[in-house]
């Protein structure tokens, strides 16, 4: 009985050790996971002075790029449209320069109050204003990489279209034929010999450019965006008799 009790105790101890080991094996990852979760949450409220702004801006930066490319794509198209439809030289510079000028201004003004505001407010425990300011600050700075100034260079654009590997030879030649046909129609229009109205020419022009962009957008997205962004600028040249004659 005395010999069996220590043996039983030893067996019980080994059993408990095994159970503890198994429990520790399962609990340790859970504890590490919980610690990681808590660690991920704590920096925002705990360290409001320096660590609050990066996490607050990081998620906003991830959410902001998705709508902004669409705005960046759609914004340049309507902006040059009225400017070059109405007056080819005067109005275009202001709308083109205003967005870049307006973009850095909110970025600088919004970042300035964050940095000085964050450092004194850190002991005062104001994470909410800092987070809101960081949210307000993070949206403007995301614009600059998206917006690409499209200075129209027809020769460069033409050369890029010639050199691109996204379109085959037959397709390039077909597109060139259709471009030549459209140019001939514009030439007749400027000479007063065309049956097409400007609206009809505009429709044909848009359809042709849509074909080009469709063919390019998978194989050469930068060139497709360049063509799309210069759509109104090219239209301004086509509709201006003097500039069209200089082509």
């Amino acid at each position: 009985m005395r010999r069996s009790r220590p043996a039983m105790q030893a067996q019980a101890r080994t059993a408990t050790n095994v159970v503890r080991a198994r429990v520790s094996v399962t609990i340790v990852p859970l504890v590490m996971f919980l610690v990681a979760c808590v660690h991920g949450r704590t920096p925002a409220p705990a360290t409001a002075d320096s660590a609050a702004s990066p996490p607050a801006s990081a998620p906003v930066a991830t959410t902001s790029p998705t709508p902004q490319p669409e705005a960046g794509v759609t914004a340049p198209a309507p902006e040059p449209a009225p400017s070059q439809m109405n007056a080819p030289t005067g109005p275009p510079p202001p709308p083109a320069t205003q967005p870049p000028a307006g973009q850095p201004k909110p970025a600088t003004t919004s970042t300035r109050p964050n940095n000085p505001g964050a450092t004194p407010r850190a002991p005062a425990t104001s994470p909410v204003p800092a987070a809101s300011a960081a949210v307000a600050a993070s949206s403007p700075p995301a614009r600059p990489p998206v917006s690409a100034a499209p200075p129209l260079d027809l020769k460069a654009l033409e050369q890029r279209l010639r050199d691109t590997h996204a379109i085959g030879l037959f397709t390039k030649l077909s597109l060139k034929n259709q471009v030549d046909d459209l140019l001939a129609q514009f030439k007749a229009f400027h000479q007063g010999q065309s049956r097409n109205t400007l609206e009809q020419l505009r429709q044909k022009y848009e359809l042709l450019l849509m074909k080009v962009v469709t063919l390019l957008q998978n194989g050469d997205p930068p060139l497709a965006s360049a063509v799309r962004s210069s759509q109104e600028a090219i239209w301004g040249i086509l509709t201006d008799p003097k500039r069209f004659a200089a082509i």
Partner: protein, 81 residues
């Protein structure tokens, strides 16, 4: 042990796709785009026969056959056969 072959295979696959992308579209894709630009229906070119320089006969997946060539004036002509 098993990570290296997978990584190597992935890199090789990426390299091959980049190479094909740099080479441009296949003749079938080019013919398909040329046919579509002329307003003819062709969802996919399943067969193409080269008759001469810039002269092809393309068979589309829907069974339509087209004669695609460049005429003397440099225009791409698509004729349904």
């Amino acid at each position: 042990m098993s990570v290296r072959p997978i990584a190597f295979f992935a890199l090789a696959l990426l390299g091959s796709t980049g190479l094909t992308a740099a080479q441009g579209p296949s003749p079938g894709q080019d013919l398909k785009a040329a046919i579509a630009l002329q307003g003819f229906p062709c969802d996919q070119v399943v067969d193409s026969k080269r008759n001469a320089d810039s002269d092809y006969t393309a068979t589309c997946k829907d069974g339509n056959r087209y004669h695609v060539y460049v005429d003397a004036t440099g225009r791409v002509v698509v004729k349904k056969l």
